[in-house]
C-alpha cells in the first residue's frame, strides 16, 4: 500500500463530495440565479422586486399568518396532551403516545384527502373558509411534531424540582407556572421550529383543500413553472434567510432558558 495510505481522513471523502454536490453547489447556483437577470448580468432587481411587489408581499404575509395560526393551534392542543401523557400514570403510556404518532406513518395525501371529505361533509363548500380549513389541515399534519418534543422535555423533568416547589410553599398551579412551564420552553421552541417553518411552505395542503391563495412554497413553484428561475431563486433565498434568522433566535432563546431541557 505504498501509493495509497489509508487514514481516517479518507473516510470523510464521500461526505465531502456529497456536501459539495448537493449542498454547496446548489446554494451557489441559487445565489447566482437570485442576483442575475435573464442576460446573466448582476442585478439586485429580484430582491427589490420582491419587496416592492404587493402580490409577493401579500403572499409573504399570508404565509406568516397561516404559519402563526397553525403554530398557536398546535401548541394549544399539544401542550396539555404532552403534559398529561408525561405526568399521568398510564399503564400503557407508550401505546397512548404511539396513538398520537401513528398518523405520521400513514401517507400524507391520504390523510388530507380524508380530512377534505370530513370538512366537506361539515361545511358543504370548502371554498367558504379557505384560511380556516388550511389551518386545520396543517394542524392535523404537524401536531405530532409539536407533541413529541414537549412530551420528551416534560417527561425528562426532574420530579424533585416539582417537589421542591411544593415544599417551598407553592400550590400545584404555582408550581406549574414557575417550574414546569419555564422548564418545558426548550421543548416548546423545538416544537415551534418543527411546525412553523414547514407550515410556511407546505402548499400541498392548500392545493388539496382547494385554497387557491398562494403561500411561499406555491409562489416559488409558480415562478419556476413560468421559467422565471431568477425570481424564484430570490424567493427561495429570502425564505432561507428567514429560516436562518428564526433558527438563530430559537438557539439564543434556548440557551438563555433552561439547560435541562431536551431537544427531540
Amino acid at each position: 500500500m505504498r501509493f495509497f495510505r489509508f487514514s481516517r481522513k479518507n473516510l470523510c471523502i464521500p461526505y465531502a463530495l456529497y456536501l459539495i454536490l448537493f449542498v454547496v453547489a446548489p446554494l451557489l447556483v441559487l445565489f447566482y440565479y437570485a442576483f442575475t437577470d435573464g442576460q446573466g448580468r448582476f442585478t439586485c432587481g429580484n430582491l427589490t422586486g420582491f419587496f416592492t411587489d404587493p402580490n409577493t408581499l401579500g403572499t409573504l404575509c399570508y404565509s406568516f399568518a397561516i404559519a402563526i395560526a397553525t403554530t398557536i393551534v398546535c401548541l394549544l392542543l399539544a401542550y396539555p396532551v404532552a403534559y398529561i401523557l408525561a405526568t399521568g400514570h398510564f399503564k400503557t403510556k407508550s401505546v397512548v403516545v404511539m396513538l398520537f404518532v401513528l398518523p405520521m406513518w400513514i401517507n400524507f395525501s391520504l390523510r388530507i384527502t380524508a380530512l377534505k371529505e370530513v370538512l366537506t361533509l361539515l361545511e358543504g363548500n370548502l371554498a367558504r373558509y379557505p384560511f380556516f380549513n388550511t389551518v386545520i389541515g396543517m394542524t392535523y399534519d404537524f401536531l405530532p411534531f409539536m407533541i413529541l418534543p414537549i412530551y420528551t422535555t416534560i417527561s425528562k423533568l426532574d420530579s424533585a424540582l416539582l417537589e421542591a416547589a411544593l415544599d417551598l410553599g407553592a400550590g400545584s398551579v404555582q408550581a406549574f407556572l414557575h417550574v414546569t412551564l419555564p422548564l418545558s420552553v426548550p421543548g416548546i421552541l423545538s416544537g415551534i421550529s418543527m411546525v412553523f417553518l414547514p407550515a410556511m411552505t407546505n402548499y400541498v395542503v392548500l392545493d388539496m383543500l382547494y385554497n387557491s391563495t398562494y403561500i411561499m412554497g406555491s409562489l416559488i413553484g409558480s415562478y419556476f413553472s413560468a421559467y422565471n428561475w431568477h425570481g424564484g431563486s430570490m424567493i427561495a433565498l429570502i425564505l432561507l434567510a428567514i429560516i436562518c434568522l428564526f433558527t438563530l433566535l430559537n438557539g439564543e432563546a434556548e440557551e438563555s432558558s433552561a439547560r435541562g431541557g431536551a431537544l427531540l
Binding site: 424533585a160 424540582l161 417537589e163 411544593l166 404555582q174 422548564l183 432558558s257
Partner: protein
C-alpha cells in the same frame, strides 16, 4: 397546661406502595424541639420514605403524624412549616441564586425589601455573600449544596429535612459540610432530621440516631449508645466494623464464643444463647500462650491509621485493628477486656457455619460432602467438560475465594449416640429446658458450637454425633 416538647410525633406509621412493597412498618418516633435526629440505614430500609412522609410527598398507608400535637398526616407539603434539602439539591436551573432562594418567600407574598434582606442574611449564613446574580450551573457541587440549604432555611421552617445532602460531594468537602451543618444547627436551634446511609456522618453530627432496616426501627439512641451498646446483630454490624459471634453464657459474667471463654460485664442468665460483639479496635494481641484464644494471622492490611489484621482461630475469624503490625502465618494470642465485650441475648438460634468447595467442585464441611447442586447455588454457573465449575462469564470458579455459608435451624439437627454418624461430633456442654423441648449446646471437636433442639433428655458431657439433613440447610454464597 402540659408543656409540649415534642415537635413531631410519628404514630404507627406504615407505608405500603402500590406494588405491595412495605417500605415502612409500624414506625413510632418522637422528636424533641431543636434535636438533630438522623435516620441511618442501608438503601431500601425506608428512611427516605419516612422523611418523605414527614415532608408530605408521600401519604402513610396507616398511622398518624403529629406536628406540635396536631395531625398533619394528610396536609399537602406546601401547607407544612417544614422544608427539605434534596438529595441532588433540586435547584431550579432556570433561576439565578437569588430567585432560587427567594422562591419560598415569594409564594408567601412577602414584601420585596424583606425578601432582599432575608436572602442576604441567609447567603451570609452559608458563606455565599455576593452570589445573588450567579446562575446555578456556574456553581460547584458544594456551593449548590449551600444554596439548597439556604433556600430551605430562608423560610424559617420549624423542621429542616435533609435527604442524604452530602452524598454527591467528595470526602473532604463532605467532612467540612458535616461540621458546618452541625454548627448551623447549633446556631439556628431548628429541628434537623437527616437521612444518610453513612454511619460516620450519622455518628459525627447527630444528637439521636434512628437505625433502620427493612422498614423497621432497629435502635434509637445517642451516637455513643448506638456504637457501644448495639441492640442487635444488625446494628452492631452496620455501625462500625464488628466481630459478631454466636455463643452461650457459661456462668455468672462468663460467656463462651469464638472458641474461648471470656469474662464479661453483662449479667445474663447462665445457659442463655447470646450474640457477642467485639469491636476490632478492642482486641488485644498477646503472646500465643497469654491470650484467651489463639490463632494464626491470615492477612494484614495497612489502613493508614492502623493495620487491619485477620486472625483465624479454629473455625472462627477475628478482625483486629492494631497500630502494631503482625506477620502473616504468625501464631498469636487474643484477649478482650470484659467491658469491651458486648453481649446481646440472641432471639434467633440459627446455626451458621462456612463450607468449602473442594477440588472436585463439591461442597464439603468437616471432610464430609454436602450433597447439593452447586450450579443451582451459584446463579448462572454450569459444569465444564472436566467437571469443573464455571461461573456466568465462563471462568473457572476460584475455590479458595468462594465460600458457602450454611444455615440450619436447631430443630432440624438430630443427635445420635453413634459417633460414626453425623456431620460433626462433640459433647453436650449445656442444656436448658424450654417448656416443651430441651435446647442443647454441643461443643464440637472442630471448635464450633451448635445449638440443637430435642424433645428427649440427654446428659451433660454426652458424646454425640449431629445429623444435619442437607435438604434443611440454606446456603449463601460468599466471595
Amino acid at each position: 397546661m402540659e408543656q409540649r416538647t415534642n415537635i413531631i410525633e410519628l404514630k404507627h406509621i406504615t407505608k405500603i406502595f402500590e406494588d405491595g412493597f412495605a417500605a415502612v412498618e409500624d414506625f413510632n418516633l418522637e422528636i424533641g424541639r431543636g434535636e438533630f435526629v438522623t435516620f441511618l440505614g442501608p438503601s431500601g430500609c425506608g428512611k427516605t420514605t419516612t422523611l418523605r412522609m414527614i415532608a408530605g410527598f408521600d401519604i402513610p398507608t396507616s398511622g398518624e403524624i403529629l406536628l406540635n400535637g396536631s395531625p398533619i398526616t394528610h396536609l399537602p407539603p406546601n401547607k407544612r412549616p417544614i422544608n427539605t434539602v434534596f438529595q441532588r439539591y433540586a435547584l431550579f436551573p432556570h433561576m439565578n441564586i437569588y430567585d432560587n432562594i427567594a422562591f419560598g418567600l415569594k409564594q408567601k407574598k412577602t414584601p420585596k425589601d424583606i425578601i432582599q434582606k432575608k436572602v442576604k442574611r441567609v447567603l451570609a449564613l452559608v458563606d455565599l455573600e455576593g452570589f445573588e446574580k450567579r446562575s446555578i450551573s456556574t456553581l460547584s457541587g458544594g456551593q449548590q449544596q449551600r444554596v439548597a440549604i439556604a433556600r430551605a432555611l430562608v423560610n424559617e421552617p420549624e423542621i429542616l429535612l435533609l435527604d442524604e445532602p452530602l452524598g454527591a460531594l467528595d470526602l473532604k468537602m463532605r467532612q467540612e459540610m458535616q461540621l458546618e451543618l452541625k454548627a448551623m444547627h447549633k446556631k439556628l436551634g431548628i429541628t434537623f432530621i437527616y437521612v444518610t446511609h453513612d454511619q460516620e456522618e450519622a455518628l459525627t453530627m447527630s444528637d439521636k440516631i434512628v437505625v433502620m432496616s427493612k422498614g423497621k426501627m432497629q435502635q434509637i439512641g445517642s451516637p455513643e449508645d448506638i456504637y457501644n451498646e448495639p441492640k442487635n446483630a444488625f446494628v452492631a454490624d452496620f455501625i462500625g466494623q464488628s466481630n459478631i459471634f454466636n455463643g452461650i453464657m457459661t456462668g455468672k459474667l462468663r460467656a463462651r464464643f469464638c472458641g474461648g471463654e471470656f469474662a464479661c460485664v453483662d449479667d445474663v442468665e447462665e445457659g442463655t444463647h447470646i450474640t457477642a460483639v467485639v469491636r476490632p479496635e478492642d482486641v488485644i494481641i498477646t503472646q500465643p500462650e497469654q491470650g484467651i484464644i489463639e490463632g494464626v494471622v491470615s492477612s494484614v492490611i495497612f489502613k493508614g491509621m492502623h493495620y487491619e489484621i485477620t486472625v483465624e482461630s479454629g473455625r472462627y475469624e477475628m478482625v483486629i485493628q492494631s497500630v502494631k503490625s503482625a506477620r502473616v502465618g504468625e501464631r498469636v494470642g487474643m484477649q478482650v477486656e470484659p467491658d469491651n465485650i458486648h453481649i446481646m441475648i440472641a432471639e434467633d438460634h440459627t446455626n451458621f457455619f462456612v463450607a468449602d468447595i473442594n477440588k472436585d467442585y463439591r461442597l464439603e464441611y468437616n471432610d464430609t460432602i454436602l450433597d447439593t447442586s452447586l450450579t443451582r447455588l451459584i446463579p448462572g454457573s454450569r459444569r465444564g467438560e472436566n467437571g469443573e465449575l464455571l461461573d456466568v462469564s465462563g471462568e473457572v470458579v476460584d475455590i479458595t475465594r468462594t465460600k458457602v455459608q450454611v444455615a440450619i435451624q436447631p430443630q432440624n439437627i438430630t443427635m445420635t449416640d453413634d459417633q460414626q454418624q453425623g456431620l460433626v461430633h462433640g459433647t453436650i456442654s449445656n442444656l436448658i429446658y424450654k417448656g416443651d423441648h430441651y435446647s442443647y449446646v454441643i461443643h464440637t471437636d472442630i471448635g464450633q458450637d451448635f445449638v440443637v433442639d430435642d424433645e428427649y433428655l440427654w446428659n451433660m458431657n454426652d458424646s454425640v454425633g449431629l445429623i444435619m439433613p442437607v435438604e434443611k440447610m440454606t446456603f449463601t454464597v460468599k466471595r
